[in-house]
């Protein structure tokens, strides 16, 4: 079981996919010689050639649009969007073309396109480089939206996404790129459509994903010191949601806090709150509480620590829930 950084784990996942299936192509800005601004595609062009690891022009609509064309031709493109805030020029191609093609053709045409997006804050970046835009894509029927939080999932969830015949928005939390973790050479027992209970507990369910998982785990440690036994669930798949695992937990704990980096208003936490309330109404001792980025544009780097949910804000919500 080698220990890899998330960046390297994804890199080896791409390498495996390129080795296993000649139809897989990797494409994006600077993915070739540079190996991507986060080095996720490091060395791939050297080994698989510029025809399979494609440095593209600087045009996001073009990246997704040509990936759709390549998929129509039988290829399986894995696109990299350089930063979360730069996926918007491709928005029309993603929501009107990529997401809808299968439904529009009555199921005849599938588009196995993966769009990798380094996501979220915490790395002290300038504006547009720390966005959390998963709610836009989760609200879009026809897409699968997933988010990894550790090297094992970065590697295996990506390989599963590439094998999937549906379009997948694949989020990679930037703040975790350099964190280590074990990556087994087997996918393990967890299918891609399941959430994972990363810390079992009984007093309250904390739901989160991506870069916030570590914060939630630390919050659970801190709460434990005060006698509260939090269950932490890593959602992994954001659309569809694994409501079975989620509701199963909340039915037991009776309390739920959702934590994400994105602004809460009409964010994914809103969906989870509404769905969980409908499924677990009589089990809930408190409303589902949401902790997220404030409902302002992502702030300058110096303020991101205050903007992003931190231990205190998570614990504050936990306290409010417990004392509701």
């Amino acid at each position: 079981m080698p220990v890899l950084t998330l960046s390297k784990a994804i890199n080896t996942g791409l390498r495996k996919a390129l080795e296993d299936d000649p139809r897989v192509v990797v494409m994006g800005q600077d993915v070739g010689g540079l190996g991507g601004v986060f080095r996720v595609t490091d060395g791939l062009q050297k080994d698989f050639g510029a025809d399979r690891v494609i440095d593209t022009p600087l045009a996001e609509a073009g990246i997704v649009g040509t990936a759709i064309g390549l998929a129509l031709r039988g290829y399986r493109p894995v696109c990299e969007i350089q930063f979360d805030g730069f996926v918007y020029p491709a928005f029309s191609q993603i929501v009107s073309q990529l997401a809808k093609m299968r439904a529009r053709t009555g199921g005849i045409v599938s588009l196995p396109v993966v769009i990798r997006i380094p996501v979220g804050g915490g790395i002290g970046a300038v504006e547009h480089h720390s966005e959390s835009n998963e709610a836009y894509f989760a609200h879009t029927a026809g897409l699968r939206v997933v988010c990894c939080s550790n090297p094992r999932d970065g590697h295996w969830m990506l390989r599963q996404a590439i094998q999937n015949d549906d379009p997948v928005i694949f989020y990679e939390p930037k703040c975790r790129y350099w964190s280590n973790g074990e990556v087994s050479d087997q996918p393990g027992v967890l299918p891609p459509e399941r959430a994972e209970v990363v810390r079992p507990g009984s007093s309250l369910t904390v739901l989160s994903y991506g870069g916030m998982i570590q914060t939630c785990l630390r919050a659970a440690d801190a709460a434990a010191a005060e006698g509260h036994d939090l269950e932490v669930i890593d959602l992994r798949t954001l659309s569809p949601l694994d409501l079975e695992t989620i509701a199963g937990s909340v039915e037991r704990t009776g309390r739920c806090v959702v934590v994400h980096e994105a602004p809460t208003f009409a964010g994914l936490g809103a969906e989870i709150g509404s769905a969980v309330t409908e499924l677990c109404f009589y089990h809930l001792e408190a409303p589902v509480l949401r902790v997220g980025g404030f409902n302002i544009p992502y702030p300058p780097a110096k303020f991101e620590d205050q903007y992003l949910p931190d231990l205190d804000r998570v614990l504050d919500a936990v306290d409010r829930s417990l004392s509701w």
Partner: protein
């Protein structure tokens, strides 16, 4: 720059050494038949819309030469990415009236298997099909096969960012794409001079594409230029663009009232340049339009019209429930629940 013309507006052949084309009776008759069929189909579809059998129709009326002259210049294994008005091209490629109408009746979003006809479904979001065409062509490049990709779009669509990204990308990648623009002078009510200052073929050259301007109502010129350009692309010459100057003789769609924005005299002047009449004049002059052939075409068109009317009314409706399964390759629990809820509700009405 003058558009390439092989047939003048009176249907007289013009010598044009730059664009050699073997102008045989067979070729002319074949093009004529295809254009007549397309026109008749369009007439019927319009009538069906007026009768309430179709929700909407966008006529190809007047653009038959541009579409048929070009699509017949491609090889059967070349791939076509149409916009939404390419009925003449689609019909010429073998797509059936039923397959063409079902989208406009409102039963489905698309009517045919794009892989089967090597003709992609219609794209209503302007210019969105152009990067698809480029990507497909990148696949063709990687496969090392000798196919090319033809992408159709309108003068209006050329203003979209995605259209220009596609032109630039194709040029940079050297992808085997033939961009075919039907400049029909209007984008709904917006005339070309609002869209652009310089003509599109000039813009394409600016991107590094080979580009040509052709009289889009001259089916022989369109055919000759497209044939030559397609072969040049096939030979590895890189992408190219053809701008075909034509005219939308109908409204933008059956919801449109073109009288609000264009003059009767403009319409008249283009009606006088009808592409079918022009070819017919040539056929007549050359004695290639004998009574038997004329009758043959007429009866073929009658048959097509009858089929069109018949299949339209019989188009299968399917049901909404099927759509739940078509969104993703596997139905999600949420969709399964919704589908069940929908079925329960539907059956509760029946009870």
């Amino acid at each position: 720059m003058e558009p390439v013309q092989l047939l003048d507006t009176d249907g007289r052949l013009r010598h044009n050494p730059d664009w050699p084309l073997e102008i045989t009776p067979e070729l002319c008759r074949d093009l004529y038949r295809r254009m007549k069929r397309a026109r008749r189909f369009d007439d019927e579809a319009l009538a069906l819309q007026r009768q309430g059998e179709l929700g909407l129709w966008l006529q190809s009326l007047g653009q038959e030469a541009a579409q048929i002259g070009s699509v017949t210049a491609l090889r059967p294994d070349d791939h076509v990415f149409p916009s939404y008005r390419e009925h003449a091209a689609a019909l010429s490629r073998g797509i059936t009236p039923a397959e063409l109408l079902v989208q406009w009746r409102g039963n489905r979003h698309s009517g045919w298997d794009p892989a089967h006809y090597r003709f992609h479904i219609y794209t209503l979001v302007l210019a969105a099909q152009l990067p698809h065409a480029v990507g497909y062509a990148m696949g063709v490049q990687r496969d090392g096969s000798g196919e090319i990709v033809a992408a159709y779009f309108g003068d209006g669509a050329s203003s979209e960012g995605e259209a220009n990204e596609a032109l630039n990308w194709a040029a940079a990648a050297g992808a085997p794409v033939l961009f075919f623009c039907q400049n029909n002078h209007w984008a709904i009510s917006t005339p070309t001079q609002i869209q652009m200052r310089a003509p599109l073929h000039q813009r394409a050259r600016g991107f590094g594409l080979d580009a040509h301007l052709v009289d889009g109502n001259d089916v022989l010129a369109v055919h000759a230029v497209t044939t030559a350009v397609a072969e040049q692309i096939r030979a590895g010459g890189g992408p190219a663009l053809i701008e075909a100057v034509t005219y939308r003789l109908g409204g933008h769609s059956t919801s449109d009232d073109p009288g609000r924005y264009r003059s009767a005299s403009e319409l008249d002047s283009w009606t006088a340049r009808d592409p079918i009449a022009r070819l017919e004049a040539l056929l007549t002059r050359e004695g290639w339009l004998d009574a038997q052939f004329r009758a043959e075409v007429e009866s073929e068109c009658d048959g097509l019209a009858e089929e069109t009317r018949k299949v339209c009314r019989e188009l299968p409706l399917g049901d909404l429930g099927e759509l739940f399964g078509a969104v993703l390759t596997e139905e999600t629990p949420l969709l399964a629940t919704e589908r069940r809820g929908y079925r329960d509700l539907v059956s509760s009405y029946v009870d």
